[in-house]
């Protein structure tokens, strides 16, 4: 139990700085767009809080293993506990970031209404389905999307760690190739249609299902991993 607590505390200490910096930047950016909207009412401005959080989370989780695996294994965690701790930490991370988004969204909505700024839209994931959905539903959707991307980042991190730069970039290459092949083969139309035909609950369930599946793959790939990474 103490190992789990210690592992979470280690990750918290390692990432709290990143969290503060990013939250500060994100908040500033969103309020800057609000001010811009008030100054130049003719231009339509979209704020992109969730997209930035997703990108940032992905970048951070791509470095997860490099930053914490050696330290936590030296501290005595076994590999399953390490995965449980990092998975748990990223879940907390998603909830915390979604909470920040929740507050920012609430404030922005309040201010746009208050100052009657119509040129600023605050896009939210709930808008995919129903504009009238509450911010709480949006919070759950945000959190599940962030968590899914965190797990994808973690998988990337594991692949780079286990198979070195060559393996990592090859993996990326294959994924990108698949994405490009998707354009002529018209995969995206049905995908978007499918996504839009869901509802919020299905979206959350799908995100969490993907996240759990990816975490399981990560767990399989790290069962015998050493702290000496494939890069050296």
């Amino acid at each position: 139990m103490n190992q789990i607590k210690g592992g979470l505390y280690t990750l918290f200490l390692s990432y709290k700085r990143d969290f503060y910096i990013f939250t500060a930047i994100n908040t500033m950016f969103l309020f800057l767009s609000l001010i811009m909207g008030m100054l130049f009412p003719d231009i339509t401005i979209m704020t992109i809080g969730i997209v930035m959080v997703l990108i940032f989370t992905f970048i951070i989780s791509m470095k997860l293993l490099d930053r914490s695996l050696a330290i936590l294994l030296r501290y005595g965690l076994n590999r399953s506990r390490y995965i449980a701790v990092t998975g748990g930490f990223m879940l907390l991370w998603s909830l915390a970031n979604a909470a920040v988004l929740f507050i920012i969204n609430a404030l922005l909505l309040f201010f746009t209404k208050q100052f009657d700024v119509t040129s600023v839209t605050v896009p939210r994931l709930t808008m995919l389905y129903d504009n009238s959905l509450s911010l709480v539903v949006n919070y759950v959707m945000d959190a599940s999307a962030i968590f899914m991307l965190a797990m994808a980042g973690m998988l990337t991190s594991v692949i780079f760690y286990r198979f070195g730069s060559i393996g990592g970039y090859s993996f990326f290459g294959v994924i990108l190739a698949l994405l490009f092949i998707g354009v002529p083969l018209k995969w995206y139309g049905p995908l978007v249609d499918g996504l839009l035909s869901w509802n919020a609950a299905l979206f959350v369930v799908a995100m969490l299902a993907i996240a759990v599946a990816v975490l399981a793959i990560v767990w399989l790939l790290t069962r015998r991993v050493s702290t000496v990474s494939a890069n050296v």
């Binding site: 190992q3 607590k5 050696a70 030296r74 965690l77 399953s80 069962r223 000496v228």
Partner: protein, 288 residues
């Protein structure tokens, strides 16, 4: 704590760093783990700490295999050269972490040692000098109370007085509460008097594993005339030969306590440091 190593092999791509090594370490003791660069020391210690999986063979502590053994690893504290702590963390936070990870953590001792090494709790790892981070590693190892505490070159960047303090504290802690300390170091001259047991790795094999006192009596340097020297060597292993001013010198490794030498031969004990230098000059086949 009993550490049993059987047929342990570690292969990286096409390089064999450990080759079917078998030995037992019996604690409590301060064990010197020596060998020149690339001899397989760090690979072994990484496997003992459960960080790296063996290619084949096993390491068992008290009869349990170490790899991926989360419960057993609470009893092992591994302090490596670098990278023991997260960067954006203060010393005080490291102590909090240590308390969570080591069941026998001695907070009182840690606080006292911080003072002795002049470290301040609010300093962050990333702003500290190499020597200060090394000192924190040493404090962690000593105060961990872990029955097996491994120091792998723990004093990078520390000055002579800091290292001296480390040796004193190590002996003191070992006297107060005997544990199994494994110390891997290149500064053999400084540390050799601490060792009860010495293990010398050479090109993936264990070359010497003897109590330190036996090494001092069994490995000798003999000087004199060639014929007398050859007669004295008999069937023992010769680690190194040389000749200067027509006088022949041989460093001899006896299996057991050697017979008395003729008075015309000059016998000297050899320092571990010098032995290591000679070993690294020689190829294995010449010795075996």
């Amino acid at each position: 704590m009993n550490i049993k190593v059987s047929q342990l092999t570690k292969q990286y791509r096409n390089r064999k760093v450990l080759d079917e090594v078998s030995f037992n370490l019996q604690g409590p003791a301060i064990i010197g783990f020596l060998g020149h660069n690339g001899a397989g020391k760090t690979s072994f210690l990484n496997m003992l700490a459960g960080l790296v999986a063996p290619s084949s063979g096993t390491i068992e502590v008290e009869g349990e295999p170490v790899f991926n053994n989360g419960e057993l690893m609470k009893q092992v504290c591994f302090i490596a050269e670098t990278g023991n702590f997260p960067l954006h963390v203060s010393i005080g936070q490291v102590l909090t972490l240590n308390k969570l990870f080591f069941p026998n953590w001695n907070e009182e001792l840690a606080e006292e040692l911080l003072e002795q090494f002049s470290l301040r709790k609010k300093d962050k790892i990333k702003n500290m000098s190499k020597g200060m981070v090394s000192a924190l590693g040493i404090i962690t190892g000593l105060a961990s109370g872990a029955p097996i505490t491994i120091f792998d070159e723990p004093y990078i960047g520390m000055d002579a007085s800091g290292r001296q303090l480390f040796y004193e504290l190590l002996v003191e802690q070992h006297a107060l509460e005997p544990r199994t300390f494994i110390l891997s170091t290149h500064l053999i001259d400084e540390a050799s008097n601490l060792f009860e047991d010495v293990l010398i790795m050479h090109e993936g094999k264990v070359l010497v594993h003897q109590p330190y006192e036996d090494i001092q009596t069994n490995i000798v340097k003999a000087k004199g005339r060639q014929e007398e020297l050859e007669a004295y060597i008999g069937s023992s292993k010769v680690i190194h030969r040389s000749k200067f001013m027509n006088e022949h010198t041989a460093v001899i490794m006896h299996e057991n306590v050697p017979a008395a030498a003729p008075a015309s031969l000059k016998l000297e004990s050899i320092k571990l440091q010098e032995l290591m230098v000679l070993l690294s000059k020689n190829k294995r086949r010449e010795i075996g």
